[in-house]
């Protein structure tokens, strides 16, 4: 795009989360700044899972954190339900933020090594208070731990280093659930895990979403994983949106050259037409992204128009939006 645009938003369906034209930039000194996210818009319907797909450095993690206001984006708006998050003062923001929860990539690093599982999981209640007796509270914690597949009696007094990576990730999920969130933002939750454990966590997330009525944003670099868990996939490149596509159609209908390239790079995926031609060029620096379409330096289909004019997201098939001047559409 990779371009911007809001054609893919669905305001009429009352989304749980709406992000409008979000920009995140970090100054790196000498007047330069990293353009991490440039004009990202997205929405999330109740019960939906939005997959965000991209390589490292595409701004997907930054976007996830900016949605949580950690830190707040440079510009743009984030709405959780009816509530505008940008510009809130400290306490209301902390309160509103707790309606969204985050699962991070490194499960051991995201748990305080000095605390026990029971304290980690009840931390949210300790901050916001719990209406009910001590027994009820403990009952709730045990129930939640069981829900994420941990035996409360076994892990109750353990510290994170006594647990495996998969178990730590389960504790993180339990901790998030205790906040009774509406939206769960998962930032590469399985990429640090072993293959056999990865499947357990993916299944768990899927089950949890049903059981707790969550909406989910799932950030990852693995196309197959994203396809498996999402309803809708958004492909990012250098801080901009390339394509928004219902996940069931990503392998057959992807129209953006970059999405095609990602599909082609799945090992053993067979030779898609874009596999090697675009390969040798490196990812451009986010300090000074290319003009026009940011993908043009690696795109085999790039023309002069791509350098001059930034493509806008437009609907190419029902529910599929592409920001490209030359989308690959076989009729």
């Amino acid at each position: 795009m990779a371009g911007s645009g809001t054609a893919h938003l669905r305001p009429e369906q009352a989304p749980v989360l709406t992000v409008d034209d979000m920009v995140v930039e970090f100054p790196v000194g000498r007047g330069q700044k990293v353009h991490a996210v440039s004009g990202l818009s997205l929405d999330l319907l109740a019960g939906e899972t939005l997959g965000i797909l991209g390589e490292s450095g595409c701004g997907k993690s930054t976007a996830g954190r900016a949605v949580m206001q950690l830190p707040s984006p440079t510009s743009g708006r984030v709405r959780l339900g009816e509530r505008e998050l940008t510009g809130l003062t400290s306490r209301p923001l902390r309160k509103a933020r707790s309606r969204m929860q985050m699962i991070m990539q490194d499960p051991t690093s995201s748990l305080n090594p000095r605390r026990k599982v029971k304290d980690l999981v009840t931390e949210g209640l300790a901050i916001w208070g719990f209406e009910g007796t001590k027994q009820e509270k403990e009952e709730l914690v045990r129930e939640t731990l069981s829900a994420v597949g941990l035996d409360p009696d076994v892990v109750w007094d353990r510290r994170p280093h006594e647990l495996s990576g998969g178990q730590c990730q389960r504790v993180c999920i339990a901790r998030a659930l205790m906040m009774n969130p509406e939206v769960l933002i998962c930032d590469e939750p399985v990429s640090a895990l072993d293959v056999s454990v990865q499947a357990q966590i993916l299944n768990l997330l899927e089950r949890t979403k049903e059981r707790y009525d969550l909406s989910m944003v799932f950030i990852a670099h693995d196309v197959s994983v994203v396809k498996n868990i999402s309803d809708r996939v958004m492909v990012l490149y250098l801080g901009k949106t390339c394509e928004v596509i219902p996940s069931g159609r990503i392998d057959s209908d992807a129209a953006h050259p970059y999405t095609q390239m990602l599909l082609a790079s799945i090992p053993g995926a067979g030779d898609r037409e874009l596999s090697d031609s675009a390969a040798a060029v490196e990812l451009p620096s986010p300090l000074d992204p290319p003009s026009g379409c940011r993908f043009r330096t690696r795109c085999p289909l790039a023309t002069e128009r791509c350098a001059a004019e930034e493509p806008e997201l437009r609907e190419v098939r029902p529910g599929q939006y592409v920001a490209c001047h030359h989308p690959i559409i076989e009729e």
């Binding site: 985050m102 931390e123 901050i127």
Partner: protein, 346 residues
């Protein structure tokens, strides 16, 4: 390193053989200890023999336990802990113990002067030029050293640690100001700063302790700050913020418990540094003044030719000083290896 390594792996020694070697070393060590204390040797040689005896004994014991239990214990660590506990207890109870006179010259008028150490005599560690008992003086010296070092470290750690955590967590303006203040304090070499302070402060126990606390503060700030910054970048802090924790809560509940451990290790190392600093200061005549005994001013008594004639005047307080500093150093290193692997390097 003396400290036994965890793993008896590469060793091809069988258990009985190991036990044999160990037992041999134990016997040798004990013999050396006894010889070191009682044989009619030059005192300097005695001290060397004594120390070698301790090392050999430690190695021997470690091997015996290793052979018997299969895991190799850290005998040296236990010896160090033992020494420190013994020293502390003895120092605490000093007024109750049947010790010789340590400070009042008049009371020691009829005592022999420059008595050489004799294990079973009235003066096991000898006497000084006034006939004061060296054992009693060393133990009272330990009192002074430990009180000064411990109180200075406690004050320095509490002040420096909290400033460091706040600076590391808040960053930006506060951090820069504190950084410059810290650097300014560090810019004057410790001993020079102490001497300079000594020109203006009375050489009293409290003042020495305060001056030493001032020395502790900048290093504690740096350590606490660096660790706070490192932990603040960990994802669990992000997770706490995502749950809506306030900044105060994050500092107190998430950061402090993690920062405390490296600070504690640093404290132990700092104690040994301050004991040396206090001793150096007293040696130069700027610390607690004679005849009130400290290890530093006891060693200073040996200056000007006394040392060659009566080496025990240096060696007795010297060995006390060495063993104590060594023990704190060792403890500190173990603690740092366990809790603060990054600064363990320095």
């Amino acid at each position: 390193m003396l400290m036994p390594r965890k793993n008896p792996v590469g060793s091809k020694l069988s258990a009985p053989r190991l036990g044999g070697v160990g037992a041999g070393l134990v016997v040798a060590g004990i013999v050396l200890l006894v010889v070191g204390w009682s044989a009619p040797l030059l005192l300097f040689l005695k001290a060397v023999v004594f120390l070698v005896g301790v090392i050999v004994l430690a190695q021997g014991l470690s091997r015996v336990v290793w052979a018997a239990r299969g895991t190799r214990p850290d005998i040296l660590l236990w010896l160090c802990c033992g020494w420190l506990v013994l020293l502390t207890v003895v120092a605490l109870l000093a007024p109750l113990l049947p010790l010789g006179e340590h400070v009042d010259v008049v009371k020691a008028l009829d005592a022999p002067i420059y008595q050489t150490p004799e294990l079973l005599s009235e003066y096991p560690l000898g006497t000084n030029n006034y006939g004061l008992d060296m054992l009693a003086r060393s133990i009272y010296g330990a009192r002074t050293s430990l009180v000064i070092a411990l109180s200075a470290v406690a004050v320095g750690t509490v002040v420096g640690g909290s400033i460091g955590v706040v600076a590391g967590f808040l960053r930006s303006g506060v951090d820069s100001v504190i950084g410059i203040l810290t650097n300014a304090l560090l810019a004057v070499p410790p001993l020079v700063l102490l001497i300079a302070l000594a020109t203006v402060l009375e050489p009293k126990l409290r003042n020495v302790a305060l001056a030493l606390a001032l020395l502790t503060i900048p290093s504690m700030i740096r350590l606490a700050r660096a660790n706070t910054i490192a932990f603040a970048q960990r994802e669990f802090v992000l997770a706490a913020r995502a749950m809506g924790a306030t900044r105060l809560r994050i500092m107190v509940r998430e950061l402090v418990p993690n920062v405390v451990l490296p600070i504690f290790s640093m404290m132990v190392v700092m104690i040994s540094v301050l004991i040396v600093a206090e001793a150096s200061l007293s040696f130069l005549g700027f610390g607690v003044q004679a005849p009130e005994p400290t290890w530093g001013n006891m060693i200073a008594e040996a200056e000007g030719g006394t040392m060659e004639e009566y080496p025990h005047i240096v060696l007795v307080p010297g060995v006390f000083l060495f063993l104590t500093v060594f023990s704190f150093n060792l403890l500190g290193e173990k603690a740092q290896k366990r809790w603060d692997p990054r600064s363990a390097k320095l």
